[in-house]
Amino acid sequence: MSSSNWPLWEVFIRSKQGLNHKHVGSLRAADAEMAVDNARDVYTRRSEGVSIWVVESSNVFASDPADSDAFFEPAQSKVYRHPTFYDVPDGISHM
């Protein structure tokens, strides 16, 4: 039994605190059901989560690292896109 024939799956876990599912890693499995079971064993043994998503890695379409200049550089010079130029009224705490 060789795992080289099994597809790779990306695993997303929602922690107990709620919020969104976070990418935690990847693993090999023959199908989605096995991927969820394996994710349970590999990534939630220390009660890391309450919900698991798996996505076959081949279904993930990613940005091209070669494009990173065009994609991400232009944002770096646009500090005004951060909401840092407002005066926070006195009555508001925890900002």
Partner: protein, 256 residues
């Protein structure tokens, strides 16, 4: 009475301990990384169950004449002789190939899931509490082994051949799952023990359902009178104990 509860608890504990030890042998030897982790997780569940049961047995033992000098849960787990272990013969069978490892777990998990569900109603509060906690783990163990039975039975020619071989090798030990003697009947009358006859149909249904989906044939019922519950074992147990007890016997009372 107390003697009976002690023996009864020890039998459940030994099943968990020995199967836990067997699965632990696969640590670092699983067929794939993910399965290696799954099997050792399950092993740890069993060792955890055994720990709770031995701790309970150790408290009962205080006023009994049985097993003199063995006082703690660790003593019970590590310092008995082979004839004093009362586990089922099924759980001490070798890991063999992956099909045999899974088939052994499947037959046992299908039993344990029904057993714990029934033991939750025991009048013995300790046993009922341990059963409730263990049932959650057992549901996952059963899912794991049942899914693999289906994958292997309904998989390739090779996997089907191997799982059939495993079933043939292990089927004769499944009858013992329902072994009962005076210990059981005395405790059934008290509402403490589970009448295993009431679990037979549910166990058979689980086996039949999974086998049907796996395109496997359920063998004819086989009645073989094994005596694991009375301490008569196959040759395999001695080897398990030799490895499991080595540290405690070489360095008595060792802590780390």
């Amino acid at each position: 009475m107390k003697n009976n509860i002690f023996t009864y608890t020890l039998r459940i504990a030994d099943d968990s301990l020995i199967l836990g030890q067997r699965l632990a042998e696969l640590c670092g030897h699983g067929p794939i990384l993910e399965e290696d982790i799954a099997l050792t997780n399950i092993s740890l569940d069993f060792i955890g169950q055994a720990t709770s049961l031995f701790e309970y047995a150790a408290t009962l033992k205080a006023d009994l004449e049985v097993l003199p000098k063995l006082n703690s849960a660790d003593d019970l787990a590590f310092l008995r002789f082979d004839r004093q272990y009362v586990n089922l013969l099924l759980v001490e069978q070798p890991n063999g190939d992956f099909a045999q490892t899974i088939a052994r777990s499947f037959f046992f998990d299908a039993f344990r899931i029904e057993f714990y569900a029934a033991l939750m109603n025991s009048k013995d509060e300790q046993l009922a509490a341990i059963a409730e906690k263990s049932l959650k783990e057992t549901k996952y163990h059963y899912k794991h082994s049942a899914e693999w039975m289906i994958r292997m039975g309904d998989g390739t020619e090779e996997s089907n051949m191997r799982v059939n071989k495993a079933i043939t090798a292990l089927w004769k030990y499944t009858d013992e799952l329902f072994f009962m003697d005076d210990v059981d009947s005395a405790l059934i009358a008290e509402g403490i023990a589970v009448d295993l006859n009431t679990l037979k149909d549910a166990w058979s249904n689980r086996v039949q359902t999974v086998f049907a989906e796996a395109t496997l044939t359920v063998p004819e019922p086989k009645s073989v009178h094994f005596k694991g519950r009375n301490g008569m074992h196959t040759e395999h147990l001695g080897y398990i104990l030799a490895e499991m007890q080595y540290m405690q016997r070489a360095y008595p009372g060792m802590k780390w």
